[in-house]
């Protein structure tokens, strides 16, 4: 009955569970943290360091912190050695919305909410069809109407008055949304057999990658107007956006190219043999597999560019980080730059960490079934 060699079906032979290790929390601790004298010592020392460092921060950030002072000197007097969160409380509207007309701050607030809703909805794979276009049109329509105004009785607000979180979100969202297809096209073009298309794409990618983003932004802001006929201007914000798109596109192209190279030749041949033709082969067979392979480096680039949008400061646009820097300058609160920076770091971290977690989830989702 237990003779495996005779080829008995698994149901008829007695199978037993694998041997049990040291189960439970104690077993886990013993195995992973206190496996030996060296392990144990390392664990204790590291834990001590962690507690010590963390306690210092908690003391500063929570225990001795001040949440209600009206000015910097008051903070220093009332809560020595503590964080002055009152400063952030006083300035959060400037940080989040920059120089947008103060009494109109509800507009960028709802614009940000619309953008976040649009981005979160886009994460759901059930919407990855025509609905995605509807979601983006609706989200973008609401957000941009709120930001620009000029209709429905909203006063018109120029892009030069925009600032803070909506600027970061708009630059990153639309910068990457346009850069992504551009990068895919450039990557496909770089592998094209047609010499003209190929050299055009290689030229674009290599040229852009060989230049710092800052110089591209300066070119877009200072040099471009010189070439345009007088009286003809393109909005500064739009120029910055185009620079970000071009720059991110080149990086995305190289990542996607890596994915394309990972697709076995047999996949192309099978698609060819079925008569799918170039466009359908690329869209249905090659790209889905190539993009899945490059999710980790792609998200890495997305996170990087989300933060790099801060470089638009160079041409006088105030995104989240730069609006925060503006807040620090206030004489009333001099000496509390750390609080603003910690606060900004947390805001950035929340958004970048969310992207990172989503990419993990997406990798798992797309691997379902493919892996054994």
């Amino acid at each position: 009955m237990t003779d495996i060699a005779s080829g008995a079906a698994p149901a008829t032979r007695t199978s037993r569970p694998p041997p049990r290790g040291e189960a439970g929390a104690i077993g886990w601790l013993r195995k992973n943290l206190f496996g030996g004298v060296g392990d144990g010592l390392t664990t204790i020392v590291l834990l001590a360091l962690l507690v010590w460092g963390l306690w210092g921060f908690v003391e500063w950030a929570v225990v001795n912190a001040n949440f209600s002072a009206k000015s910097g000197p008051e903070c220093t007097a009332n809560s020595p050695g503590g964080a002055c969160w009152a400063f952030v409380r006083d300035k959060y509207r400037l940080i989040f919305f920059g120089t947008f007309p103060f009494e109109q701050h509800w507009r960028p607030l709802f614009a940000c909410i619309a953008l976040f809703a649009m981005l979160i909805a886009s994460c759901d794979r059930r919407f990855w069809n025509w609905r995605l276009a509807v979601i983006w049109l609706a989200g973008s329509g609401v957000a941009l109407t709120l930001m620009f105004g000029g209709v429905f009785g909203l006063s018109f607000v120029e892009t030069s008055s925009w600032g803070g979180l909506p600027v970061t979100l708009i630059l990153a969202t639309y910068g990457l949304a346009f850069a992504f297809p551009l990068g895919i096209l450039a990557a496909l073009g770089r592998r094209s057999k047609l010499p003209l298309i190929k050299s055009l794409c290689v030229g674009y990618i290599e040229l852009i990658r060989g230049v710092p983003l800052i110089s591209l932004l300066i070119m877009a802001s200072v040099m471009l107007p010189l070439f345009l006929p007088s009286g003809f201007t393109i909005d500064k914000f739009l120029r910055a956006l185009v620079a970000v798109v071009l720059f991110a596109g080149a990086y995305i192209a190289e990542i996607v190219r890596g994915g394309l190279q990972a697709i076995p030749k047999g996949q192309y041949e099978a698609a060819d043999a079925l008569g799918l033709g170039y466009a359908r082969k690329t869209f249905f067979i090659v790209l889905p597999q190539a993009l899945q392979v490059v999710i980790p480096p792609l998200v890495n680039t997305f996170v990087g560019f989300f933060k790099d949008t801060s470089l638009v400061l160079i041409i006088g646009i105030f995104d989240l980080l730069n609006a925060g820097e503006q807040a620090i300058v206030d004489r009333n609160w001099s000496g509390f730059a750390n609080e603003i920076h910690v606060f900004l770091a947390m805001v950035y971290f929340v958004m970048c960490f969310a992207m990172s977690r989503y990419s993990k989830y997406l990798e798992r989702e797309l691997n379902k079934g493919v892996r054994r």
Binding site: A271, L274, L276
Partner: protein
């Protein structure tokens, strides 16, 4: 199995086909006519050009000299660089690969329906019905919602055959369909191919399965160093091969 096909229409015609990989001459003056309903087995040592030959028929490889023509709906279409001609021929010619080449990111059903829906513009529902009936024929309808990676090699190859059949091709090319399979799975794939042959499909099969050649083929072709060395009905081919090279090859693969 040899039948009189001399009155059947010619569906594939190769005239003085030559091909080089760089300086290497892979196909030398290949002349070949395949008639409607004919089953041809091509054998030969590795590197003899047999795979290259059938891959030229649907333009996975480009030949440099000679003419390759395929009959599509009674029209004789020559392979040129004209993409229209290539696509017309590919719609008519199904292919099964040694390494299956299923699309790993699509379910089995989606693997089967993709080309009919997008190339032939078959309505989705109809394409799915055709796909399911073909999966029934290759005896794995229960796997329709799984992904290729979850199937055994034999099952994957049967799916690959069904996928090619979904396009309703007039001709099927098989490029060593059982060479990548574990021994116990070879039979399930050969059984499907034999069924297909019995239904009258025109087949060109590159294989080392001489049992299959004996029972199914109308004609066996032996290739070596890029040339067709010898061809004939299997009874003749296996009983009295004329050429020394054929005898050596058969000696090597039949009794080791």
């Amino acid at each position: 199995m040899a039948r009189d096909l001399s009155n059947a229409q010619t569906v594939i015609e190769l005239v003085k086909v030559n091909k080089w990989y760089g300086q290497f001459h892979v196909l030398t003056d290949i002349d070949l006519k395949v008639r409607h309903g004919e089953k041809i087995v091509i054998c030969g040592p590795s590197g003899s050009g047999k795979s290259t030959l059938i891959r030229c028929v649907n333009r996975l490889e480009e030949h440099q000299e000679g003419v390759i023509a395929v009959s599509v709906d009674g029209r004789r279409i020559e392979l040129t660089n004209d993409v229209k001609n290539i696509e017309a021929i590919r719609r008519e010619v199904g292919m099964v690969f040694q390494s299956f080449n299923l699309f790993p990111h699509l379910t089995i059903l989606h693997n089967l329906t993709l080309a009919p829906i997008w190339v032939k513009k078959t309505p989705k529902k109809e394409a799915e019905e055709i796909a399911m009936s073909l999966l029934q024929r290759v005896r794995i309808p229960e796997q329709a919602m799984k992904f290729p990676g979850q199937l055994s090699g034999g099952q994957q190859q049967r799916v690959a055959i069904a996928r090619a059949l979904c396009m309703r091709p007039q001709i099927m090319l098989f490029d060593e369909p059982t060479s990548a399979l574990d021994p116990e799975m070879v039979k399930e794939v050969l059984d499907v191919m034999i069924e297909l042959a019995n239904e009258g499909m025109t087949m060109v099969v590159v294989t080392h399965e001489m049992g299959f050649a004996r029972s199914v083929a109308d004609r066996v072709i032996f290739m070596d160093r890029g040339e067709i060395v010898e061809q004939g009905p299997p009874t003749e081919f296996f009983a009295n091969p004329r050429e020394e090279r054929t005898r050596t090859f058969l000696g090597q693969i039949l009794h080791h």
